[in-house]
């Protein structure tokens, strides 16, 4: 699904991602774990080219999504981001109504008809298991929702443009345990239809909900394996040290 080949990323002179080669399977949850500053978020953001806007970023190597080089000169970044949705660490709903938040993406991409938008909004909110809670208050401001609801709204908003891939950048770290639990369940469910790549600080979360886990250290991939294997029988000593809590 996603093939990363010999990827190098520099912030100015700082070599942030070193020679990363990785393949991410389709319709599975892949978790990136590792200590702060190890490059896992940076790698996640290369997958929808959110690093483009940052000054002084230079990228070498290849990232292919379904065989298409996303850093090719003829690649339109807007089209890419329509296919690769993203949910951020802090819930970031727009200061608009719940309905308009979800309809924002489809409207960007040219959907205008009310009936069609209604359908997309309901479908997306259902997929994000938020529909039952907000069906009667769609016109209310998204900022009136709780943090956990806001984050699920952001997931619904991302799903509304029908992406194939969903990137989740520590999407539960600002939430309480109950909301976290809901998002985790939701992530499992969504993995039936979407390829999910998540960055998490919480190893238990990676163990609970991911199918594959990739361990990063100092901008390098140390180990990538099935989650069960990686946690029960890590191949690398450093992985073992990290997951048993000896550092990081």
């Amino acid at each position: 699904m996603i093939e990363i080949e010999r990827l190098q990323l520099y912030y100015g002179t700082f070599h942030a991602l070193k020679d990363i080669s990785l393949s991410i399977p389709e319709k599975r949850v892949t978790a990136f774990i590792g200590p702060s500053g190890c490059g896992k978020s940076t790698l996640l953001r290369t997958l929808n080219r959110m690093n483009d806007a940052i000054d002084g970023v230079r990228i070498e190597g290849k990232v292919e999504i379904q065989g298409q080089d996303i850093y090719a000169p003829d690649m339109e970044v807007e089209t890419l981001r329509k296919r690769v949705g993203m949910v951020f660490q802090q819930p970031n709903p727009f200061p608009k109504s719940i309905y308009d938040n979800v309809a924002y993406g489809p409207r960007l991409h040219g959907k205008r008809k009310k009936a069609e938008l209604d359908e997309i909004v309901e479908k997306s909110l259902r997929a994000a298991s938020l529909w039952e809670e907000v069906r009667d208050v769609l016109k209310k401001s998204a900022w009136s929702l709780s943090g956990g609801q806001q984050q699920r709204l952001c997931i619904a908003r991302a799903l509304a443009v029908e992406p194939d891939i969903l990137l989740m950048d520590e999407s539960t770290s600002a939430l309480d345990p109950i909301s976290t639990n809901k998002i985790e369940e939701l992530t499992r469910e969504l993995s039936r239809n979407y390829t999910i790549v998540m960055v998490t600080h919480n190893m238990h979360q990676a163990a609970r909900i991911s199918d594959r886990t990739v361990f990063f250290l100092n901008g390098q991939v140390i180990e990538a394996a099935d989650t069960e294997t990686l946690f029960s029988n890590p191949a690398d000593r450093r992985t073992e040290d990290y997951i048993s809590g000896r550092f990081g």
């Binding site: 959110m50 806007a53 807007e78 981001r81 951020f88 970031n92 608009k96 960007l108 991302a158 443009v161």
Partner: protein, 310 residues
């Protein structure tokens, strides 16, 4: 733990030895100083308002001028045998110049702010912003002079009329209020949570879509605040306008015909009247109208700020 224990001990010891510890006196002195300053400020503001109100209300109370006559009268002739105090031409002139100035300055200011925050932040911060802020420091007589020697001749050659008038005044004012509008808009755009922009880009929005659908609507109350403050400044500006507007006390038929504003007529006539005369008091009435308009502008800004916070 240990430290705080010691501190408490020292404190009680000092209190026990002196009835008024030093820090109490310091505290009292500081408070007294602040209260005196505030008192001076309040007394000043109230005296100004009181003075203007008393003078400005005299024509209505004892001069036999009706409020409606002043607000809606079209003829201003205080020196005639039957003096007329119709201020509508000045009200019209003031509103027309300042609103038109805002209409010119707002799009320029917004675009400058967007350029400085979204498109070229580095160039914006180092070159454009200081340049625009410099505009705020230019004395208004210089604006008036430039307006008189550049804008008025240009308008005279391009449009029918003599060049002086509301259009000339508005153009001069729009440049004068540009820093206000731009600075407030820039601050608002800079303080926008970056998550909102990222959220929009991540959904595949282009920069223009993000600006028009997220950034502008979200910062709208602050942008409007900038405009209202700009209008307030334009409304109160006297000198530069007076130099280019022509100062004819009538409602003009076109933007290129001589007109007058509340401020320009006050500065022009103030020197030719004696304090306490009917003419002089009528000018104070105009000042009172200006003051009341300022209150209205402040009120609108407050309303917008409350909306921005929500």
């Amino acid at each position: 733990m240990n430290l705080s224990y010691k501190e408490v001990k020292r404190d009680t010891a000092v209190q026990a030895s002196k009835p008024f510890p030093k820090h109490r006196i310091e505290e009292w002195r500081g408070k007294a100083y602040v209260y005196v300053c505030i008192l001076v400020l309040i007394v000043t503001i109230f005296s100004i308002v009181y003075f203007i109100a008393v003078r400005g209300l005299t024509p209505f109370v004892s001069g036999g001028v009706g409020v409606g006559e002043m607000l809606f009268g079209k003829v201003w002739d205080p020196d005639a045998e039957q003096p007329l105090y119709g201020a509508l031409p000045f009200l019209y002139g003031s509103f027309a110049t300042s609103l038109l100035a805002a209409a010119i300055a707002a799009p320029l200011g917004f675009c400058a702010a967007i350029f400085m925050t979204e498109m070229m932040p580095k160039l914006g911060r180092t070159v454009l912003q200081p340049a625009i802020e410099l505009l705020a420091g230019i004395p208004s007589v210089v604006y008036g002079f430039v307006g008189l020697s550049v804008i008025v001749p240009f308008l005279r050659h391009t449009f029918p009329g003599q060049g002086i008038g509301i259009m000339a005044g508005s153009i001069v004012l729009s440049i004068m209020i540009l820093p206000t509008v731009t600075t407030i808009a820039t601050d608002a755009l800079r303080s926008l949570p970056s998550g909102l922009k990222e959220g929009s880009y991540a959904l595949g929005a282009t920069r223009w879509q993000t600006i028009s659908r997220i950034i502008l609507p979200t910062t709208l109350p602050s942008l409007l605040t900038g405009i209202v403050l700009g209008i307030a400044r334009a409304f109160g500006e006297a000198l530069a306008v007076q130099m280019v507007i022509g100062n004819a006390p009538h409602i003009p038929d076109s933007l290129f015909e001589s007109a007058a504003t509340l401020t320009s007529i006050i500065t022009l006539s103030m020197g030719n009247t004696t304090l306490g005369s009917a003419h002089n008091n009528a000018l104070w009435s105009l000042a009172l109208i200006l003051l009341l308009m300022t209150f209205v502008f402040v009120f609108i800004v407050r309303l917008l700020e409350r909306r921005a916070k929500r």
